[in-house]
């Protein structure tokens, strides 16, 4: 398969960072507004899917840097581990731990295991969707 449409390719160069940024935005605000790890992850996956469609598997893999399966594994690990710290305070697993930071520029920032969990979710969603899509695209290429 030769390079696909130039317009699409160049648009995706522009759309990719936009979508990725948007996905992180959705991830971080999810606790307060519609969004969250899933939605963010799905948008990010869509971004890379777009890249996959307008370029090829190799380019998509390069954008991702990490093998999606590893991303998957680490995301799952993070999500599971985010529930563990509570035990050290003699609380049940997955009891949320909040850490409030006073940052000079940004004001009060709340960090929490809940956010870690959501980030884990985000990673898993990206990892899963892309594992599937890239594998399918690989197979498709192999056929040509």
């Amino acid at each position: 398969m030769p390079m696909y449409s130039l317009i699409l390719r160049s648009a995706s160069h522009f759309l990719l960072p936009l979508l990725l940024l948007f996905s992180i935005f959705l991830l971080l605000r999810g606790h307060n507004e519609p969004g969250g790890g899933f939605i963010g992850g799905l948008v990010a996956s869509a971004a890379i899917a777009l890249y996959l469609f307008s370029m090829d598997v190799k380019a998509a893999r390069q954008v991702l840097h990490i093998d999606p399966r590893e991303l998957l594994g680490w995301g799952l690990t993070l999500a599971v581990l985010s529930g563990v710290p509570a035990v050290f305070w003699h609380q049940p697993f997955f009891t949320a731990q909040w850490l409030t930071l006073e940052l000079p520029a940004l004001g009060e920032v709340k960090l929490s295991t809940v956010l870690l969990f959501d980030i884990g979710v985000y990673m898993v969603v990206i990892g899963s969707v892309l594992t599937v899509l890239l594998a399918l695209a690989d197979a498709d290429d192999a056929r040509h």
Binding site: M1, Y4, L8, L18, L19, F22, L26, E33, P34, G35, I39, V43, A46, A49, L50, F53, S54, D140
Partner: protein
């Protein structure tokens, strides 16, 4: 006043939805259907916008935002497939 406007707008969009759907049904080619599908996505944005106006819950705009940004991916997918030679039975 605004209430009637919104009712009317809903009605108009509903009509548009029906028309777009008819194109989806009659085709005849796959790209035609995909175009209809794209339009349905746009109409959804319209619905959501009007719904935001009537409910005053701006959270729904987020849905429209995601829709605007990702709905075309389906079209890209379809197109990519068509280019790869599925046209033989794409009707």
């Amino acid at each position: 006043m605004l209430e009637y406007t919104l009712m009317t707008a809903y009605a108009i969009l509903s009509l548009a939805l029906v028309l777009a759907f008819i194109r989806l049904v009659i085709g005849p080619s796959l790209p035609d259907r995909v175009v209809a599908l794209e339009l349905i996505a746009s109409l959804m944005i319209g619905f959501i916008a009007i719904y935001t106006l009537s409910s005053k819950a701006t959270a729904f705009l987020d849905v429209a935002m995601v829709l605007a940004l990702t709905a075309f991916l389906a079209a890209v997918g379809f197109a990519r497939l068509l280019e790869k030679g599925a046209h033989r039975d794409a009707d």
